[in-house]
């Protein structure tokens, strides 16, 4: 246990050494280390992280904090080739404004982020500047215009009443 804590401290030190004053905060979460950087320093931080051995993106996650009127974009990155770093997952996060959301694309640094950025783009309507091929990936334009993963798009709940089912199926409106 002590060794683990030491290692965590060392990876935090490593991140601080690499990113220097770009970091706003480093937060230890369950299973990953969240590193918050300002949007304008995202590309620079990503380049530094890539040079220090984080060679691929596992997931690009956008989270809609509708109460704070913010989007948080997290790039979960890790390493394949560096065995020591591959034990850790770093969440390179940035917070952007919910109105006219856009941020620089990291696809030119990590090719593995290309399709995932496209997905975030269509589900949240977040534009990635300088993305090589920003098109819709999974959705049709009609659905993508609704920006379905934003919190203000609410999915209708099913009724708990079995009578609703009876009525629906009897009138052939089960869909």
């Amino acid at each position: 246990m002590v060794g683990e804590v030491k290692k965590l401290i060392s990876i935090q030190d490593l991140l601080k050494n690499v990113l220097k004053d770009n970091v706003i905060s480093i937060e230890q979460n369950k299973g990953y280390l969240d590193v918050l950087v300002p949007t304008e320093k995202l590309v620079e931080s990503a380049k530094k992280l890539k040079d220090s051995g984080f060679d691929h993106v596992k997931s690009v996650t956008a989270i809609d904090y509708i109460a704070k009127k913010q989007f948080k974009i997290t790039y979960h990155i890790s390493s394949y080739l560096n065995e020591e770093l591959s034990k850790y997952i770093i969440g390179l996060s940035t917070i952007i404004n919910r109105d006219n959301p856009h941020l620089p694309s990291l696809s030119r640094i990590w090719v593995s982020a290309e399709f995932q950025e496209r997905e975030v783009y269509e589900f949240f309507g977040i534009t990635f500047d300088d993305h090589p091929d920003l098109r819709l990936l999974l959705l049709t334009p009609v659905i993508a215009a609704l920006k379905p993963l934003r919190k203000d798009y609410v999915v209708k709940e099913e009724s708990d009443d079995i009578e609703v089912d009876y009525v629906a199926y009897n009138t052939n409106k089960w869909w």
């Binding site: 099913e158 708990d160 009443d161 079995i162 089912d165 009876y166 199926y169 009897n170 089960w174």
Partner: protein, 216 residues
């Protein structure tokens, strides 16, 4: 002792040997199975698999045991099971009262079995078969009476029961229930009289399932 990496390479052979050995090996394996086929197909509906007791098939309610706690309806991931308010005569309190009982909509059910597992009084159970046809979608929403009956096992009417057992040489071996009865003396029917008679599924599985190394 954790995992370790084993470096491997594609098997290499000299080109001439590859052509001869490879082709002859492939043809020999093909011929082997051509002459001694290992068939595992189930000839449905002439045969049907007699599934094990624990199979998550259709769900049946034992109304006497139900305490109307709604756990099943709340845990149902597909909202297939919903509570229905029914007027019943309560034996203990000796008066008419409105109680809630689960009913199921098989249009939605995904047979995850959460409801059976979450029921605190074991008022729900699975029957070990799942091939059933409803004539229309309305019929698939069961009423409280239907939900208490075990659905009819349609394939048992047409086909003969078979069972697959594991085998070292042939993977799965299909054995017919009649043959099995001759080979393994059937153990005495389980005594389940202490339980409700409704839960008696047709032919509970014999306990010694894979004991006989049966070869075809």
């Amino acid at each position: 002792m954790p995992a370790k990496v084993a470096l491997k390479r594609n098997p290499k052979k000299n080109p001439l040997g590859r052509v001869f050995v490879g082709n002859i090996g492939a043809l020999a394996i093909g011929l082997k199975y051509f002459l001694d086929p290992n068939r595992i197909t189930l000839l449905y509906p002439h045969e049907y698999i007699k599934l094990r007791q624990g199979y998550r098939g259709f769900i049946v309610l034992i109304q006497d045991k139900c305490i109307s706690c709604s756990s099943c309806a709340r845990i149902c991931p597909a909202r297939a099971m919903k509570m229905l308010s029914v007027k019943v005569f309560d034996k203990r309190l000796k008066k008419e009262m409105v109680k809630k009982f689960p009913v199921i909509n098989y249009n939605r059910c995904i047979f995850c079995g959460y409801c059976v597992d979450v029921c605190p009084t074991e008022a729900l159970y699975h029957v070990p078969y799942h091939d059933l046809v409803y004539m229309n979608m309305q019929d698939m929403i069961l009423s409280l009476e239907d939900f208490q009956k075990e659905p009819e096992n349609v394939s048992a009417k047409e086909g003969i029961p078979v069972r697959y057992v594991f085998d070292e040489k042939r993977g799965l071996v299909k054995i017919k229930q009649e043959e099995e009865k001759k080979e393994i003396s059937q153990p005495v029917e389980q005594t389940k009289q202490q339980e409700s008679t409704k839960q008696q599924t047709n032919n509970p599985e014999p306990k010694s399932v894979n004991k006989g190394g049966v070869n075809q």
